[in-house]
């Protein structure tokens, strides 16, 4: 459908321009990002390299002991392909030290802890390198809440947060990201054999078609059903968006004064920039 088939040249110019402008206007020339070996962070790395020059982009791969070794290999491949700085920091010692105190923790707790461990490393490198942290969450996962709050969702700037996974694939092809990274099954790689689509219970292509009509075009439920989407699918996605909305907002502040931050104290983040 037209809405998901984006104009690659325009999209590329907008996203590259966004990184260049929003980074430099705060007096910084570098960025740091987590490179997982997956397509989203690969695309952000390519965008950042084009925007700021590869020498100003620092990618960190942060595997855990049970991460698929292919992920690190793919991360390295991407870093080499776009010429950016690359390092590997193992998170196993920190994560394992914590869960020795909670040996019964389930996969979700472990996965969230890993995502937040990586976040602390990226923000530490932000200070170390005087570099802004780039986010790598796409619009599909942001809307579905398929990410860890204050973990992989944390960043200073996110170039791909308004494009769906289907568009991430298109733009990745247009920007020359290595084919093996584009073609593999998306995975959070939190445990062996995990794939996003299996965990979510639908394919990204399916859900993007629905999200685009529901969110961007604001079709009613009846209109969505008339376009062939199953009622249960529509309802479950609506509930996912609603149920994860807290992840897309700042913490709620109890209002007592006349000017409460973000309610009646309102300034753009680029205030003075």
């Amino acid at each position: 459908m037209a809405g998901l088939r984006a104009n690659m040249e325009l999209l590329r110019r907008l996203l590259v321009g966004f990184v260049r402008d929003e980074v430099r206007k705060v007096g910084i020339s570098k960025v740091v990002l987590g490179l997982s070996g997956g397509i989203d962070s690969a695309l952000v790395a390519f965008i950042a390299a084009e925007a700021l020059g590869p020498e100003n982009v620092h990618a960190i791969c942060m595997p855990y002991s049970c991460s698929n070794p292919e992920s690190e290999a793919h991360a390295r491949l991407v870093a080499t392909a776009c010429g950016i700085n690359f390092s590997v920091i193992q998170i196993t010692p920190m994560v394992d030290a914590y869960f020795e105190m909670f040996p019964d923790a389930d996969n979700m707790r472990r996965g969230n802890k890993m995502a937040r461990e990586r976040m602390t490393i990226l923000f530490d490198h932000s200070a170390l390198l005087r570099a802004l942290v780039l986010g790598t969450s796409n619009k599909t996962e942001l809307l579905l809440g398929y990410g860890t709050l204050y973990g992989d969702m944390a960043s200073a700037l996110n170039p791909i947060g308004d494009i769906y996974k289907s568009q991430v694939w298109q733009l990745s092809r247009a920007m020359g990201i290595p084919a093996e990274v584009i073609e593999k099954q998306p995975s959070a790689d939190l445990w062996a054999g995990q794939t996003d689509e299996e965990e979510l219970g639908f394919s990204y292509r399916q859900v993007d078609e629905l999200l685009y009509r529901m969110v961007d075009q604001r079709l009613t439920k009846q209109e969505l059903a008339a376009e062939g989407f199953e009622d249960e699918f529509i309802d479950s996605i609506y509930l996912k968006i609603q149920g994860s909305h807290f992840k897309r907002r700042l913490p709620v502040i109890a209002k007592v004064s006349n000017r409460t931050i973000d309610r009646d104290f309102r300034y753009a983040r680029d205030w003075g920039k």
Partner: protein
């Protein structure tokens, strides 16, 4: 008369009037050096666009030193520019002034403040209440600020008031990436071209560039001849300094070929609008 205009496609800093004044003075100096007669800046060129609670902090009175400074500069070149205006009764308007020979020859206050989608102007700003044409050294002009132009009546009133040149100062955000060209750019291009065609007016469209909180302003400042033809268009996304040679003869010829404005029946229009207003009031 023939004249040369510059569309100053700048990137203002959000909330930084002093810094923006430096950029603006630089553009004015450059335009004077090139021999231009008029320079047109974008909407809110002195302040940036997504101001929110910064509105009272960046607002300038008409008699402020900044506006007086620009008026002084207009002794060498006519200037159209957008800013937040503060009035004696402490209302804040999204305004544009036309400066000529050291004085303000016209002030327009944006009438249509968009408050939908990504826009929130009417929360922070007061609404203007008039569209008036005015005389300049280069003929009779009308000024519109961005959203004003999306209301057919605004351009129509200015044209009926005798304006043959419409200046539109804009801060238009980029959105829509599914077509051959940027969605908001192609909508604007259709709009200015069609408006020129309907009203046999020239249009000088000045749009800013840069990003504010992830929102891009796309530029593409443009001069449209009275035939509706795009004569010059500035760069997409990048700062630009668009020089426009305006030919008086083209306006005269177009108005001979297509005398729609001559034939426009103000009486019928007024009668029908009066009837509609009366019926709605009942």
């Amino acid at each position: 008369m023939d004249f040369t205009a510059v569309l100053a496609q700048i990137k203002p800093k959000l909330g930084c009037v002093a810094d923006n004044l430096v950029i603006i003075e630089g553009q004015i100096a450059k335009a004077r050096e090139t021999g231009a007669d008029l320079i047109v800046f974008p909407e809110l060129a002195l302040s940036g666009y997504f101001l929110k609670d910064l509105v009272p902090e960046v607002a300038l009175r008409i008699d402020s030193p900044e506006i007086q400074r620009l008026a002084e500069l207009s002794r060498g070149i006519s200037i159209a520019i957008g800013f937040v205006e503060e009035t004696d009764d402490y209302h804040f308007f999204n305004s544009a002034i036309y400066l000529e020979d050291g004085a303000i020859s016209h002030l327009h206050r944006k009438v249509y403040l968009p408050t939908y989608g990504l826009f929130d102007e009417q929360r922070y700003l007061a609404r203007g209440s008039a569209f008036r044409a005015f005389d300049t050294k280069f003929g009779r002009f009308g000024m519109l600020i961005c959203e004003d132009m999306w209301h057919l009546s605004a351009s129509y009133i200015l044209a009926m008031d005798g304006a043959t040149t419409l200046i539109c100062l804009s801060s238009s955000p980029a959105r829509g990436i599914d077509g051959d060209s940027l969605g908001s750019a192609s909508s604007w291009q259709k709009l200015v071209s069609t408006t020129a065609l309907f009203l046999n007016c020239r249009i000088l469209y000045s749009n800013r560039v840069g990003f504010e909180d992830g929102v891009n302003f796309w530029g593409g400042s443009e001069y449209i001849a009275p035939s509706g033809e795009s004569i010059v268009r500035g760069a997409l996304f990048e700062e630009d300094f668009v020089t426009v040679e305006i030919d008086e003869g083209a306006l005269r010829r177009e108005r001979i070929f297509s005398p729609m404005m001559r034939d426009e029946n103000l009486f019928v229009t007024m009668q029908e609008l009066g009837r509609i207003a009366h019926e709605r009031g009942r």
